[in-house]
C-alpha cells in the first residue's frame, strides 16, 4: 500500500505557504479542513499565472489570450470529467459550489417534475444545503419532503431508508459523507435501492471529493456535486455532474450570455450542454485553479491520502476517549472528521481558547441543525484532518483542550 512517510508530509507541508504562519505566537494548527482546505503553492501560482499571462474572457475573443483561457477552461472540464469518471465531459457543469449545484437540480430538474403527492427523500444527517433547496421546491410544487432517520452512531438506518422508498419517491438526495459526523453513507447500495423505485439520485459530495476516489459511472448516481475549495482549489467554484440525458431534458437554470444559440425578442434557443447551464462570464481562474488542485491531489494519490487521514482519525479518536470527550458520530465507516463536546463547556468558549493556542477548529452547528437536535447538543467542536496534518498537531489540540478544562474547572 502507498503511504506517506514523515519526509513526504514535511515536503507536502512546505508546499502550503499558510501552514508556516503563526496565530497568537503559536504555529497555526489548522484542523478545520471540512470547512475549507488550505491551498498549495501550485494552485496559488495558477491563479497568478492566469492574471499575469492570459486573462481574457473565454469563447468570445478571436485573439490569442482568449484562446489560451478557453483551452485552459475546457481542459479543466476534461480533467474534472476524468476525476469523476464521467462518460462525457459535457456532463460536467461549472457552478459556484455544491450549494448552487443542488439548487440547480432542485429548480431545473425537480421543479418542473414534482406534483402534489410526489416525495423527495433526504436523510437525517444532511447539511442545510441539501435540506433547504428541497424544502423550497416542495413548497413550490406541493410535493412532500421525507427524511430517512439515523441511529445513535450517526449512521443512516438502511432498513428505514428502504421503507421510505416507494413509487411516490421521485428524488433521493443524500450526502456521500456527513460534514457534521464524518459518516460515510453506503451510497452505492442506497442509489441502487432508489433506482429500484424509479427515483433519481442527487449526491452531495462536498465532503467526499477531498477524501475518496469517485466513480460516477460505477455509483450510477444521476447527479453528483462537489466544491473546489474543500479539495485544495479556489473558493467560488464547484461542479455539478449530471447524466447527459437528464441534463439535456432540463430547462436552463439561469439566462444570460454564453448559454444561448440565438436570441430574438420572440424566441431564444439555448446552447447544448454544458454551456446551457453556464450563463454569463464564468469563474475562469477558479476552474483553472481547480484543475491544478485535482492534479496535485492525484499526484499524492487517494490511497496514500486515505491511509494517512485514517491514521489521524484513529489517533485523535483514541485520545478523545482517553480525555473523556463526548464523541458525536461513531459510524463504523468514517472520514477524518471528529465531532465532540467537552464536559458542559459551550463549543464557542472552547473554540476561543483553542484559537489562543493557534488551533483552528470549527465550533458550531456545522450547518446541520437537525443533526445537533438529534444528538441534543447546541453545538459541537469539530476537528477535521487533511493529508498535511500530523499527530503532533493533534497532540497540540489535546494539550489546548486540557487548558480549556483548567480555565473551566
Amino acid at each position: 500500500m502507498k503511504t506517506l512517510t514523515d519526509a513526504d508530509i514535511t515536503r507536502i507541508r512546505s508546499e502550503f505557504p499558510i501552514l508556516n504562519t503563526t496565530v497568537k505566537g503559536h504555529p497555526l494548527v489548522y484542523l478545520d479542513n471540512a470547512n475549507t482546505s488550505q491551498k498549495p503553492q501550485c494552485v496559488i501560482n495558477a491563479l497568478k499565472d492566469y492574471y499575469e499571462r492570459y486573462n481574457a474572457n473565454i469563447y468570445r475573443g478571436l485573439y490569442e489570450l482568449s484562446e489560451l483561457a478557453t483551452a485552459a477552461y475546457e481542459g479543466a472540464r476534461l480533467r474534472v470529467a476524468q476525476f469523476l469518471n464521467a462518460k462525457d465531459d459535457c456532463e460536467i457543469i461549472f457552478v459556484k459550489g455544491t450549494t448552487e449545484a443542488i439548487n440547480l437540480v432542485a429548480q431545473s430538474y425537480a421543479r418542473p417534475l414534482l406534483k402534489p403527492g410526489d416525495e423527495v427523500l433526504i436523510t437525517a444527517l444532511e447539511h442545510h444545503s441539501n435540506i433547504v433547496p428541497w424544502q423550497l421546491v416542495c413548497e413550490q410544487t406541493g410535493a412532500t419532503l421525507r427524511v430517512a432517520p439515523i441511529n445513535l452512531q450517526g449512521e443512516v438506518i438502511v432498513e428505514e431508508y428502504e421503507k421510505c422508498l416507494s413509487e411516490k419517491t421521485k428524488i433521493v438526495a443524500m450526502a456521500h459523507i456527513s460534514n457534521a459526523l464524518g459518516t460515510i453513507n453506503p451510497i452505492a447500495k442506497m442509489i441502487a435501492k432508489a433506482h429500484a423505485v424509479g427515483a433519481v439520485t442527487v449526491i452531495d459530495g462536498a465532503q467526499a471529493a477531498p477524501h475518496t476516489a469517485i466513480d460516477v459511472q460505477a455509483l450510477n448516481c444521476d447527479f453528483y456535486a462537489f466544491s473546489s475549495h474543500k479539495i485544495y482549489g479556489p473558493t467560488g467554484i464547484g461542479v455539478l455532474y449530471g447524466k447527459k440525458a437528464l441534463l439535456d431534458a432540463m430547462p436552463p437554470y439561469q439566462g444570460g450570455g454564453e448559454m444561448i444559440k440565438s436570441v430574438t425578442f420572440e424566441k431564444t434557443t439555448y446552447q447544448d450542454l454544458p454551456l446551457k447551464f453556464e450563463a454569463g462570464t464564468q469563474h475562469i481562474e477558479g476552474v483553472i485553479g481547480l484543475k491544478v488542485a485535482l492534479d496535485y491531489v492525484a499526484e499524492i494519490g487517494f490511497e496514500a491520502i486515505n491511509h494517512h487521514e485514517h491514521e489521524l482519525l484513529l489517533y485523535a479518536t483514541q485520545l478523545a476517549r482517553q480525555h473523556n470527550l463526548r464523541i458525536i458520530g461513531e459510524a463504523k465507516e468514517k472520514a477524518s472528521i471528529l465531532s465532540f463536546t467537552v464536559d458542559n463547556i459551550h463549543a464557542h468558549d472552547v473554540g476561543t481558547i483553542l484559537n489562543h493556542y493557534g488551533v483552528a477548529v470549527r465550533a458550531g452547528h456545522h450547518c446541520a441543525m437537525p443533526v445537533m437536535e438529534f444528538f441534543q447538543v447546541p453545538a459541537t467542536l469539530r476537528a477535521s484532518f487533511a493529508f498535511y496534518n500530523t499527530k503532533a498537531e493533534i497532540d497540540i489540540l489535546f494539550n489546548a483542550l486540557q487548558k480549556v478544562r483548567e480555565i473551566f474547572k
Binding site: K24, T352, G364, P378, A379, I407
Partner: protein, 152 residues
C-alpha cells in the same frame, strides 16, 4: 496563560456561568423579549416587572449559550434590580461602549469584568445579546433579537 484569555474568562464571569442568578420564569412579568443568535445558537428569554413608577422590580432569564452570554445575562439581572427604565437605557449604552472599543471611566461596577471581551471581536455579540434583548423588552418589541447582524 495568555493575558487576553485571563481577561476574558475572569472569575466573576466563570462564577456567574456556573451559577446564573435570577434564572427561571418570572411569574408577574409585564415585559418580556427573546434573543437568539442563530449562528451561535445562543438563546436568552428575559422577563421583567416594571412598577408604576418606572422602576424595574424584578428580572429573570432563561437560556442557553456560552459562558460569556450566560454570565452577561446573569449580571444584567443583578444590576438592573431597582433601577429605573431610564437608568437601564443608560447602562445599555455604557455597556455597549465598554465592549466596542471606547474604554470609558464610567463606573460600571461588576459589568467592568466584560472589558476583556473588547479584545475578542467575535465574542462581542455573545456579551451584548442579553442587553439587546433587554432593550427589546423595554420597548415592548415583539421581535426575536439577534446580535449577529454585523452592527455590533
Amino acid at each position: 496563560m495568555n493575558d487576553d484569555l485571563i481577561e476574558l474568562y475572569q472569575e466573576v464571569i466563570m462564577e456567574h456561568n456556573r451559577n446564573p442568578r435570577n434564572y427561571g420564569v418570572l411569574a408577574n412579568a409585564n415585559r418580556e423579549a427573546s434573543g437568539f443568535n442563530p449562528l451561535c445558537g445562543d438563546k436568552i428569554h428575559l422577563k421583567l416587572h416594571i412598577a408604576a413608577d418606572n422602576t424595574i422590580t424584578a428580572v429573570m432569564f432563561e437560556g442557553s449559550g456560552c459562558a460569556i452570554s450566560i454570565a452577561s445575562a446573569s449580571l444584567l439581572t443583578e444590576i438592573l434590580h431597582r433601577k429605573t427604565v431610564a437608568e437601564a437605557y443608560t447602562l445599555f449604552e455604557q455597556f455597549h461602549e465598554l465592549l466596542t472599543g471606547h474604554p470609558s471611566d464610567i463606573p460600571l461596577g461588576k459589568l467592568a469584568v466584560f472589558a476583556g471581551v473588547n479584545a475578542f471581536p467575535a465574542r462581542v455579540k455573545c456579551a451584548t445579546l442579553a442587553w439587546h434583548t433587554l432593550k427589546a423588552a423595554l420597548l415592548n418589541n415583539n421581535v426575536i433579537v439577534s446580535t449577529e447582524t454585523g452592527h455590533e
